[in-house]
Amino acid sequence: MKTTIATLKRGQRAIIKEVTSDIIPLKLLEMGCLPGNEVQLLQIAPFQCPMYLNINGSHLAIRKEVAAQIEVEII
């Protein structure tokens, strides 16, 4: 199974490896969700969704389906 933001555990940090651009909204990229940037999972709402992240210093929440499209490498 691929490691994505959706598979991270709370508190884990990772580096974004790949972002599949057709599914990911441009807005998310503009907020810093780009390959090479660091992401940390801060909090998960009940039922695993949405996920509260710190991406490259930006604090934001996204839904699990989108998070599952962002491949990462845990550090």
């Binding site: 807005k27 810093g32 509260y52 839904r63």
Partner: protein, 698 residues
């Protein structure tokens, strides 16, 4: 008059852009709408030295020039149209010191449009606490700009900013981001095809779905040596562009910005641990909701009673000092009660917006969205629907407008369609008067009264119906839209009093003048219709009644005359005409008139009954007593009993009775299809349920 410097204030949401605007303009500001759309347009005037003035336009918050909403379109439409009367001489880009990197993305885009730009780094007071230090001169050089370090909270740095605005002609116009250098061939060909346009502007025209006047995608697509790429290819290029921009920003910030991680206090983390907790988070949210309802329904009753009494007094006072006549009647029986019906809502609306703006300013609202998203999605709504649904308890109009930041069209449409079910403040007066008439004023145990429980039930019913219809709509509507949900979780801040106050005043003003006009107009029309009749039965009412009842006391006689007149007035005939339709619900023709006039705005109901019952009578008796004394002509029982009362309450809970809401839904969905569907569905539902309840209980 000296020419004003035209300034546009641009920035990401949550950067304190509005605080900067408020500081620059003080109370010298006005709010309107952009022509044809409901996006708020805020402008103001700022006095600089030597009598120079700057006209400041506060553009809607946006994360980038790649627009994805109506609000963001406004920004790009303005910035690409040099002929626009608001096109800025200078742009102020407001950024937040803690999110500088992300905020600079928009800044580099503005620079690429070759508009002179000043960078404001706001919230400078947080720098030492967060361990941030910035080499301003170096950053100015790297970004080709001038920087003002501002703390809107401490009111620092505004004078520097004003000086920079004054000397805007010295600002460099050039851009050095090279953001479009990733596909040299493609962009060279584009530039060659349109040598006199700026390259970034051309690129924006290609990639955005915005209507640009004069120069648009069509013009570019017919260029001989250049082909627009497919949508997914364009998106890939936009991704590359974004990476390029971040590379530039990282390069610029590398030396100029240092962050000492150790100094950063974990205030946000601590608060988040509680406020987004899976138990405590919800607990706190519901406690806050309870507080809001308490304020709206309990605390605001004191000023509302005062307003009520004041208008009753004003009405009586006016009629006592002015000579009697139809014009004075119009003032004392039509206009003054009509105005009172508007003003009485001010305390509730002000309280609601006070809470909403405090919750938004503090950053808490994003946490509510985070907590509620999953639950709401089960019903086809979004976490972002919570704000509209809560706002809907004040008024559906701002609530429908508040759906704009829901990115997913299907979720947004469903939210718009169900919001009118939430119990808005206009239903409240109807509920209150009917409840006090038909529900016994007794208590169960010590605390809970039947009356307040009924009111609470009606609120839950409103929310329940909204959520339930959302669930049904989610199943029925076949709209494909990408699941797309991004919400920024801003840092916590103590709300600025000035921002909250200005917001409350603005929203209240918008209600008073917007809804107020309709209510006032309708109460005048009703008065006219109730005060004149088409035939002899009306004009000779006194003679007819006096001849018919010869042995009545004077007071009773004048009451008989009044009700006879009303029955044969224009409005009486209209009411009689619809009586067969409303009779199965347990209503008489007077309530029928109330319902008809409520289709314009439901708050008119009580006012209408007040007008109908007070026409031609002394003001001393309250409306409630008069309503309690009404007798159903057919059954001989009191007109307002449990069966007809409940039927009326439920009718108001479900019916779509607000023209302004229909108008706003039309504007937001851009078609008459949805508001009409709303009108038909809600009216049929209301009629059906009211019918069933009355027929069972009677």
């Amino acid at each position: 008059m000296a020419k004003q410097i035209k300034v546009s204030l641009i920035g990401n949401p949550n950067t304190g852009k509005t605080s900067v605007f408020n500081l620059l303009t003080g109370l010298n500001q006005q709010v309107g709408n952009y022509p044809g759309i409901t996006v708020e347009k805020k402008e103001g005037v700022c006095k600089l030295s030597r009598g120079v003035k700057a006209h400041i336009l506060d553009l809607p918050g946006t994360y980038s020039l790649n627009a994805s909403s109506l609000d963001e379109n406004v920004v790009i439409e303005l910035l690409l149209n040099k002929k626009d009367k608001d096109f800025p001489d200078v742009a102020i880009v407001v950024s937040d010191v803690e999110n500088l990197k992300r905020n600079l993305l928009l800044f580099t885009q503005i620079k690429d449009l070759e508009i002179p730009a000043i960078l404001v780094i706001n919230m400078a007071d947080r720098m030492s606490r967060k361990g941030i230090s910035i080499d301003i001169p170096l950053l100015e050089k790297k970004l080709h700009t001038k920087i003002a370090l501002v703390s809107a909270r401490k009111k620092e740095g505004i004078e520097d900013l004003k000086k920079l605005i004054e000397s805007y002609t010295l600002l460099p116009k050039t851009s050095n981001t090279n953001a479009l250098s990733f596909a040299p061939d493609y962009f060279d060909r584009l530039q060659k095809a349109f040598p006199d346009q700026s390259l970034y502007k051309l690129w924006l025209v290609i990639t955005q779905d915005v209507n640009f006047r004069k120069f648009n995608k069509q013009d570019i697509s017919i260029a001989p040596d250049f082909k627009i790429k497919s949508e997914s290819e364009l998106k890939r290029l936009q991704q590359k562009e974004t990476i390029k921009r971040y590379q530039f920003i990282n390069g610029a910030l590398k030396e100029a910005l240092t962050v000492d991680e150790r100094a950063a206090t974990g205030m946000r983390a601590k608060l988040d641990r509680v406020l987004t907790h899976k138990v405590w988070g919800y607990f706190i949210f519901f406690a806050i909701l309870l507080l809001i309802f308490q304020a709206i329904y309990d605390w605001s009753s004191y000023p509302m009673d005062l307003i009520d009494e004041a208008f009753a007094w004003l009405s009586e006072f006016t009629s006592s000092i002015l000579p009697a006549g139809p014009l004075v009647d119009l003032i004392t029986e039509g206009i003054i009660p009509g105005l009172g019906g508007i003003v009485i809502f001010i305390p509730q609306i002000a309280f609601l917006f006070l809470f909403i703006s405090i919750l938004e300013e503090s950053g808490y609202m994003s946490r509510v969205v985070f907590l509620m998203d999953r639950v709401m999605r089960k019903f086809g709504l979004s976490g972002k629907s919570v704000v509209p649904l809560v706002s809907g308890t004040a008024c559906a109009i701002p609530a429908v407008m508040a759906t704009r930041n829901i990115e997913n069209w299907k979720e947004r449409l469903i939210t718009i369609l169900v919001v009118p079910f939430t119990t808005c403040s206009a239903r409240l007066p109807v509920y209150l008067i009917i409840i006090s008439l038909v529900i016994p004023d007794e208590k169960i145990g010590w605390i809970f009264g039947y009356q307040s429980l009924t009111l609470m039930f009606l609120y839950f019913l409103g929310f329940g119906t909204a959520v339930g219809s959302a669930w049904i709509l989610n199943k029925i509507l076949k709209i494909k839209s990408k699941s797309y949900f991004v919400i920024e979780m801003p840092g916590y801040k103590i709300p600025l009093f000035k921002n909250v106050a200005i917001n409350v005043i603005e929203k209240t003003k918008a209600f008073v003048f917007g809804a107020g006009k309709i209510i006032l107009a309708i109460s005048i029309i009703l008065w006219v219709l109730a005060s004149f009749g088409p035939n002899e039965n009306f004009n000779n009412a006194e003679k007819i009644v006096t001849e018919r009842y010869t042995d009545l006391a004077e007071e009773e006689l004048s009451n008989k005359i009044a009700s006879h007149k009303l029955e044969y007035s224009f409005i009486g005939y209209a009411g009689k005409a619809i009586e067969p339709i409303v009779a199965p619900l347990g209503y008489d023709w007077k309530i029928g008139i109330g319902i008809i006039s409520s289709f314009a705005a439901r708050e008119v109901f009580v006012g209408t009954l007040a007008t109908i019952y007070s026409v031609g009578s002394d003001e001393e008796e309250t409306i409630k007593n008069r309503m309690a004394a009404e007798v159903n002509q057919k059954t001989g029982e009191p007109l307002f009993n449990l069966a007809s009362g409940l039927s009326l309450l439920l009718f108001y809970a479900f019916a779509m009775q607000c023209m302004s809401t229909l108008a706003i839904v039309k504007r937001e969905t851009n078609t008459w299809k949805w508001p009409m569907a709303q009108l038909v569905f809600m009216s049929v539902l209301a009629y059906g349920i009211a019918l069933i309840v009355y027929q069972i209980l009677k």
